[in-house]
Amino acid sequence: MPKDRITLGHGSGGKLSHDLIESLFLPPFINPILQASDDSAVFPLTDSDRTHQGRQLSKDEIAFTTDSYVVKPISWPGGDIGRLAVCGTVNDLAMVGAIPLYLSAAFVIEEGLPISTLRRIVTSMRRAAKEAGVKIVAGDTKVVERGSADGLFINTAGVGMLPEGVKVSGNNAQPGDVIILSGTIGDHGIAVLSAREGLAFSNNFKSDVAPLNHMVGAMLRTSAKIHAMRDPTRGGLATTLNEIAQQSKVGIRIVEEQIPIREEVAAACEILGYDPLYVANEGKVVTCVAPEDAERVVKVMRKTLYGHQATIIGEVLPEPRARVVMKTRVGGTRIVDMMVGEMLPRIC
């Protein structure tokens, strides 16, 4: 095995493992908590954590989440598995209104992965973590023999603090709420697909993978009437809206014409037979807001980096309960159901 590739020895826990951690993982993520190099990261929730941009954080509530990333391939236009692994977990924290603070990162590496590839992914994680304002404070590395994994899998877990008084969940959408979407749909799924062998039909696609916590923070500071929030990842906008409708026991009505989509994504979906409503996003938020605050929230979103195309796409109704209906572009109405099965496997 050439020296520039990961070997089983890198996962042995011995010298090679230490070298890999010291040279590859520690420098980009360096911070005092990680540097302690103990079996667990130990960190107090100190004053700086407790107040965030002038907001008092709750003393009692911590948000905690985890997610594994097995996307194939590990790089695609606009992102890679490293950026995704940070943003995905940051966004899961942000969707309950939490301010993401600390992440762990665990790597399952296939024997033979070029070390330069791993370095590129780790650098990308550092950049994403910096952008999101989170610290990676714990980690793990495992190497499995060739054929037992597909290049690289990453798991991240994250903790965040909730600002005092913030209560956002998927089960709190209320009839009369306005539904706001932060931007175009389908960018991530189609970008990953375009990077797959045999389907490279255009180089115009760009994944939207991005940390949404700053935009969400701005939204929550603007309105106390943000009732529900979700990031429409796997399963796309359609599945996310169905989740909100079911959990909140409300009806949802959206208007196809109002849903932003990049022309090349729409075209790719037409060609491939995909419905963009079901194609994955990794940098979008959909939220249900009281009508009187909706316009204000949209304006604030549009001032942020990842929300400049934010727009109102529909509304919450008392009926039909737990269903999503859509006014189609041509003027008909149809039901938008949950995604059934897996449309594009291993998209995140």
Partner: protein, 382 residues
């Protein structure tokens, strides 16, 4: 998106819908033969536009759905034969045969590969010279020419381990069979657009001539379909039924002569079994004498158990337009897209799948009513 948005224009859609209403036609049953039309009608909410007197029926135009169990059983048996690689389009994977599905036998070791083009099957045959590579040729006149071209290419390149299990079928004979069976009253046909790009309009002529029923060859965008419905109603209020082409941007009267030449070179027409309908004379395509050596059934003998149908499944009735999915007691209960019992629920173009995914005859949609407030028209200016 250019060439798409024009055909989804809301104002034009409303105008066409209004015209259809104004025709004040007696109640009519219009059948969309093709599965792609069924999906388009649901996906764009077209049923919601139509007045009560215009009833749409879904026909036998989903190739996956009309493939009878016996043919799926053959494909499964071939896939399980030693040293065989079975090549199929993805839609066939989950269709249940009598005893199993391709998906299930792949799970226990059969070498089955999903491709987007039959030409991939040739490549796989070249890469695996010691294996017999069988392409499961499913589809109507639209897909059959590409299969024919692959057979010709295999001959030209001397690929002698490529075989075809052809269950390709022809649409117009099935329409004739439905009319002969006379189980359901059909006032007009929305004829398939893609099939017609190949065969043109002539093969449908017997329908207005012998049965007096109007036909309109139709595109797949919502405005295409609305316009075709209007054209059918116009024919119905006149005296002379005929075959009209609405889908003029793609379909010529004479069809595609090159593709037709491929078909007539490689295939000969045979009697074929259709799910739910039975054997329809002269409705299938099998390899002609000159190309018999590519015939998987001749070259690789397989024995199958007598086929059987899933108890309670009404796909057959649904394919003939006799029943709607709601009249099947399995629909949405025992039979869902996750756990399909019949092919109409498996295929993305299946009638049951479309009803399941996109609508339920207005039961839910009628509760929707009008928007609470005019929120969705809020425009924001920076």
């Amino acid at each position: 998106m250019r060439f798409i948005d024009e055909f989804r224009n809301s104002a034009t859609g409303q105008r066409l819908a209004a015209r259809i209403k104004e025709r004040k036609m007696r109640p009519v049953n219009l059948m969309e033969v093709c599965g792609t039309h069924t999906v388009a009608i649901f996906k764009h909410g077209i049923r919601h536009f139509l007045p009560d007197n215009v009833n749409m029926l879904s026909g036998p135009g989903c190739p996956v759905c009309v493939t009878p169990n016996v043919d799926i059983d053959k494909a499964i048996a071939l896939a399980q034969s030693p040293d065989v690689i079975l090549i199929t389009f993805g839609d066939m994977m989950k269709v249940p045969g009598s005893y199993s599905s391709l998906h299930q036998v792949r799970g226990v070791g059969a070498d089955i590969r999903v491709v987007y083009s039959v030409l991939d099957a040739l490549r796989i045959a070249q890469d695996n010279p010691r294996k017999s590579v069988v392409f499961f040729g499913v589809g109507f006149e639209t897909t059959a020419p590409t299969t024919a071209s692959a057979v010709l290419e295999a001959e030209q390149l001397g690929i002698d381990n490529f075989y075809l299990l052809s269950v390709h079928k022809l649409i117009p004979p099935a329409m004739g069979a439905l009319l002969d069976a006379d189980e359901v009253h059909i006032d007009g046909f929305i004829c398939p657009g893609h099939v017609s790009t190949i065969i043109g309009s002539q093969p449908y002529e017997f329908i207005p001539q012998e049965y007096g029923i109007p036909c309109v060859i139709t595109g797949f965008e919502p405005l295409d379909i609305l316009q075709a419905i209007d054209m059918l109603l116009e024919q119905l209020s006149g005296k002379e039924p005929r075959v009209d082409i609405q889908y003029r941007r793609a379909v010529r009267k004479e069809g595609n002569p090159i593709a037709l030449k491929y078909l007539s070179t490689v295939f000969e027409i045979n009697d074929a079994g259709w799910r739910g309908i039975g054997v329809i004379p002269k409705s299938g395509l099998k390899l002609g004498q000159q190309y018999k050596r590519f015939d998987a059934e001749c070259a690789l003998k397989v024995v199958i158990k007598p086929p059987k149908e899933a108890a309670g499944c009404r796909c057959g009735d649904i394919l003939r337009g006799v029943s709607t999915p709601h009249e099947c007691r399995l629909f949405t209960k025992a039979c869902t897209p996750e756990h399909p019992v019949g092919p109409c629920m498996v295929s993305t173009e299946g009638t049951c799948s479309a009803w399941y995914l996109y609508g339920d005859e207005g039961k839910v949609l009628s509760q929707t009513g009008e928007p609470l407030a005019n929120n969705t028209s809020i425009t924001l200016k920076e």
